[in-house]
């Protein structure tokens, strides 16, 4: 049963999935939970994957949506009000946004990055290239490539953090900057 292309290919990507699950969560236990959730979903919808298409991308999409969903559920649990609580519970966080809105924000801010940083990030995230292969294609030293990735990701992180803090109105005004 596990000789089929799906299961065989799946094992190739387990290491990478596990590594991402570790980075995304706060404990080894949570990481393992996330990974198992993700794999269960992947196996359950295995018939939807077309052999020959990009299984790694497919698996990582499932990991992303599983992660977002778990995070949302954790936030909902935190907002339930105990009957002994005086007055209102915290509800500190703004409403969590599901994966598509997050993706839209990331894409928006990516466009505002300098081209070198933008390219570096996309080559790894979308083209799934290794550093030396990507650097070679761009005709730059690996060290330069790595520094562009680091600076680009950090710039994105700050921009997205700023997104969270400012109100909805400002968010609408932020888009539309020309890429530099």
């Amino acid at each position: 049963m596990h000789d089929d292309p799906f299961h065989q290919e799946l094992t190739l990507h387990l290491t990478a999935l596990r590594r991402y699950a570790f980075v995304l969560t706060r404990s080894a236990e949570e990481a393992e939970d996330l990974l198992q959730d993700c794999l269960a979903k992947a196996v359950a919808s295995a018939t939807q994957w077309r052999p020959g298409s990009d299984l790694k991308a497919w698996l990582f999409r499932i990991l992303y949506t599983t992660h977002i969903s778990r995070r949302r559920h954790q936030q909902v649990r935190q907002r339930t009000v105990g009957i002994l609580a005086e007055g209102m519970a915290e509800t500190v966080q703004p409403a969590d946004q599901l994966a598509r809105v997050e993706a839209a924000q990331v894409v928006t801010h990516l466009q505002a990055l300098p081209e070198g940083q933008r390219q570096a990030i996309l080559m790894v995230a979308v083209e799934d290239l290794k550093y030396d292969e990507a650097a070679k294609r761009l005709g730059i030293p690996v060290g330069t490539f790595m520094s562009r990735i680091a600076r680009g990701r950090e710039a994105l992180r700050r921009a997205l953090e700023g997104e969270e803090r400012s109100g909805p109105m400002l968010r609408l005004l932020k888009g539309g900057r020309d890429g530099r």
Binding site: T15, A16, R19, Y20, F22, V23, L24, T25, R26, D54, A57, W58, F60, R61, L63, Y64, T65, H67, R72, H73, V76, R79, T80, V81, G82, I83, M88, A89, E90, T91, P94, A95, Q97, L98, A99, R100, V101, E102, A103, A104, V106, V107, L110, Q111, I121, V124, A125, V126, D128, K130, Y131, M146, I149, A150, R153, R157, L160, P168, R171, L172
Partner: protein
Amino acid sequence: MADDMAADGIEDSDLHAFLDGELEPAREAQVRAWLLANPDAHERLACYAEQQLALAAAAAEPAWPTLPAPLIQGLEQALRRSVWRQRLSRVAATVLLLAVGWGANEVLRRPVFAGLPDYAQEAMDAHAVFANDPTRPVEIPGTRPDDIRRWLTTKLGEEVTVPDLRRMGLSLVGARVLGTEEGPAGQLLYEDALGHRMTLSLAPDEGLAPDSPVMEAFHGLEVSMWRSEDFAVAAISSDLPTEMEPLILAVDKALDTASR
């Protein structure tokens, strides 16, 4: 933080390389151990990981946002592809969006379920998390309806009578209160003889609800929304064939009784 990193021999580039699977196993193990001991850096790396996932997903999924498509076009595409379209005609969809007073811009900033009011989305999340929770689905059990009535009235700031849905074959499992951005919302959990459950959510601001009742399907859940006296109501269920009219009548009757 930079000082800690240098002292431990870990550089910022190591963190990125770790995420991208570029490190030799020995080095990877070192960085992993270091991350466990440095939650701030771990958190920062988690942000980078989420960026990567978002970009990879956006690039591969035709239904996901691709920029810079015009906002309106994007909304129409999303509506065409979503489950929504199976239940609501295009005209009715537009009417609903306008009825809840949202412009296209605002709707686009909402999560996946474009057009669903926040209070209904909160109710869906509560249903997903609590309805079939084996340990503690409710705070006060249905065997204490007076306690539930008093508690909800206090928390929600409006007189509440617990709707009696026994004519619909539904008994009360119990109640919970959720804190949301709009304020607290009461969640009443009902179930039928087979254990299929429905969440009835009461948000004490009727203005949040659509002008006329709507029933929609989202990802296997049936969501009914309507405006009652003093409350925006949402009913969420999955395996329960819910007749909207009797449900609305029963709930409105209870809430109306309470407010008199």
